[in-house]
């Protein structure tokens, strides 16, 4: 009996026939879903002969006949016979025949003569959608093709007036200070803009600009510009390899994700790629998207942050991290299919502003900028990165390119309250410069968590506390990463995937706009991440999200206590930095993380900042 609803759906008549008593659970579930949407359903008993089902169906004159039966070689002939009987009885003049059950898939349904076939992974909703006139996806689920705007709806207003006022004061001081200074990193970014605008149109000017650029480079990068000698462990991408990538991208937009992963369509789960080889990256991006990743993050080699200047042309790198060049990015860009977000990180080294330029020129959706982490835990000189970081934020604002502000210095041992103070200052500067920053707290078993005991009992409270405190301070998007679960994963892929998945579920459950996850190889250091390891954690994330649903994860009251302590700490740090009146000096002096915390002001680019003429 239909429980009719005025929901604008044309009610359909559906006969459901279990062909054996064990396999009618799926049909009963479909019946409930169909009735809820106002369709007319007759569920036949499971002990009827094929002929009796045909006769009963004939009496109903249905629009759909759905049967369920676990498939085997012997049973297949019975199903074929059923199809024949329906056809000969004239039922197919009107009714569509649908088969479901273990081992069923579209090609078998087709061979048997059904109009559609659904396997055990098919949710009841897919059968309902088919009844309502939507063509079934073939063995796979759908893929959401609209690109998410991670910053939409956020006002960037400080909810915590006291902290907001301090952050704004410090950020203004930083912007003002930086506006009087420049660096080779800033100059190269502007040279790159000019070079790319002249590359094809002004063949005379381009080489001159390139010479100017080369003069501002250092180390192996400089050597390449001057002599053409490749940087260690790199070689040019061959035409054959570029062909591999292009042929992979030809069908990239046809990727549909398995139904079991469809839950990721509604969540912004990012993965990092950066095997060193653009071809391998292309495959890893493709398979990550195929298993439901909604965004991918370009991971570059660590030496890219320490040398002045970025290479040109397409390069393959034998070690971790894929070389940042416009040509590499453009090769990879082909696989960033509709609906997928692409982040090119620019946060931590001597090429920060230029990386934002490349991100823009290659069509990236997001970048990553942070002055504090790059200065205290990633080896860049604070003064240099402050100048470059402010310029990068200006460029990102100009290009309308949102960026996250990460707090990975927590991994070194910097307490969350100091890291957050730094992140909030940089984010406040970003907003003042017209940009759209995203806060990226670390979800990890950080040294602080272990030493203070925040993670003694569980990994929920400390992370939830971070979310609570940040969202109580400012109305800004929060994107935990990158990736979540640092120092909780082991080399066991089951344990690793579970930890990653639970951290992802926790992040999204506690209000995160997006989350970046690791592969199940996160804790394995013996070689590159493999494709199956990427699939592992995406599968696990989908399973965890399915498990929790709207059920939620419940922190203990400790989360509120930790949140309050973090807020107090942030306030104290900000007061100190504001009182110092010189953000860069505070970086050097350890206000945002000192040697005792494991934070050391970097030396790369030291002494390269000059006052603007």
């Amino acid at each position: 009996m239909a429980q009719g609803r005025s929901n604008g759906i044309t009610p359909r008549k559906v006969v459901l026939a279990p062909l054996d008593p064990v396999h009618d659970v799926g049909l009963k579930l479909i019946r409930r879903k169909l009735l809820e949407r106002g369709h007319h359903v007759a569920l036949l008993p499971p002990d009827l002969s094929m002929e009796e089902i045909v006769a009963r169906a004939k009496a109903e004159d249905p629009d759909f006949i759905m049967i369920s039966r676990a498939l085997s070689y012997g049973i297949s002939e019975l199903l074929a016979k059923f199809v024949d009987l329906c056809d000969a009885a004239g039922l197919r003049e009107r009714a569509k025949l649908v088969a479901g059950g273990l081992s069923m898939k579209p090609v078998i349904a087709q061979e048997l003569g059904f109009d559609a076939g659904f396997g055990p992974d098919t949710p009841a909703e897919a059968a309902v959608a088919y009844v309502e006139g939507h063509e079934p996806g073939l063995s796979t689920g759908g893929r959401r093709r609209e690109k998410a705007d991670l910053t939409a709806g956020f006002t960037y207003k400080f909810r915590d007036a006291e902290i907001g006022s301090l952050c704004t004061t410090i950020a203004r001081q930083l912007i003002d200070w930086a506006s009087k200074r420049t660096s080779s990193g800033v100059e190269r970014a502007h040279l790159r803009i000019e070079m790319e605008s002249q590359r094809d149109s002004n063949t005379a000017l381009y080489p001159r600009l390139r010479d100017e650029y080369a003069a501002l480079t250092s180390g192996e990068i400089r050597e390449w510009y001057l002599t053409g000698k490749p940087v260690s462990h790199t070689r040019p991408v061959t035409e054959k390899e570029a062909g591999y990538i292009r042929s992979l991208w030809e069908n990239a937009d046809k990727i549909e994700i398995p139904r079991s992963q469809e839950i990721l369509n509604e969540r912004n789960v990012f993965v990092q790629y950066g095997t060193g080889c653009p071809v391998m990256d292309a495959y890893h991006i493709s398979l990550s998207v195929a298993w439901g990743a909604r965004g991918v993050v370009h991971f570059d080699p660590s030496w890219g942050a320490r040398n002045e200047g970025l290479l040109e042309q397409a390069w393959s790198h034998e070690h971790d991290g894929t070389v940042l060049t416009l040509d590499n990015l453009r090769l990879i860009r082909g696989g960033i299919i509709p609906g997928i977000l692409w982040q090119v990180r620019a946060h931590r080294g001597l090429n920060t502003p230029e990386t934002v330029v490349l991100a823009h020129l290659s069509g990236a959706d997001l970048t990553k900028i942070n002055i504090v982490y790059g200065s205290l835990a990633a080896g860049a000189d604070p003064e240099r990165l402050a100048v470059d970081g402010v310029e990068a934020m200006k460029l990102a604002a100009k290009y309308n390119l949102p960026y996250d502000v990460v707090t990975n210095e927590e991994l070194a041992g910097v307490p969350a309250f100091k890291a957050f103070a730094g992140m909030l200052i940089v984010a406040a500067a970003g907003v003042l410069l017209g940009g759209r920053p995203l806060l990226q707290p670390l979800f990890a078993n950080s040294p602080e968590g272990m030493i203070v005991g925040y993670t003694e009992d569980n990994f929920i409270d400390f992370n939830v506390a971070k979310m609570k405190v940040l969202s109580s301070i400012i109305d800004a998007p929060i994107w935990p990463g990158a990736p979540v679960g640092f120092l909780t994963q082991t080399q066991d892929r089951c344990q690793s995937s579970v930890m990653t998945a639970l951290h992802a579920a926790l992040a999204l459950d506690s209000g995160a706009t997006a989350v970046t996850i690791a592969s199940s190889d996160e804790a394995y250091a013996g070689g590159p991440i493999t494709a199956p390891a990427r699939v592992d954690s995406l599968k696990a994330a989908a399973a965890a999200l399915r498990f929790f649903g709207q059920g939620g994860i419940r922190p203990t009251p400790e989360a509120d206590r930790i949140a309050e302590k973090i807020r107090e700490g942030i306030l104290e740090v900000l007061k100190k930095v504001a009182a110092r009146g010189d953000f860069v000096a505070s970086l050097y002096e350890g206000d945002l993380g000192d040697r005792e915390d494991g934070a050391y002001p970097g030396r790369s680019g030291k002494g390269t900042v000059t006052l603007k003429r």
Partner: protein, 75 residues
């Protein structure tokens, strides 16, 4: 040409090996990978429990930047 060349990057083999301790388990695991023809093999995970080790072994067929042959040859 072996089907192995169609493997995108690495091939993991997970099993339980009966042995007396972790070191023996790892050694046997790597011997197994060598027997199977994986030259670039490693132990990703190995944990002793009861009669032996739960082990995950990995043979890299292609590391990044290698000369991939996914399409070139009939397998």
């Amino acid at each position: 040409m072996s089907v192995r060349h169609r493997i995108l990057d690495g091939c993991d083999l997970e099993t339980f090996i009966v042995c007396k301790d972790v070191e023996e388990g790892k050694t046997l695991g790597l011997r197994l990978m060598a027997e199977l023809g994986f030259e670039d093999a490693d132990v990703v995970f190995c944990e002793m429990g009861g009669p032996g080790v739960r082990i995950r072994l990995r043979g890299y067929v292609y590391r990044p930047s290698a000369d991939y042959q996914w399409y070139d040859l009939e397998v």
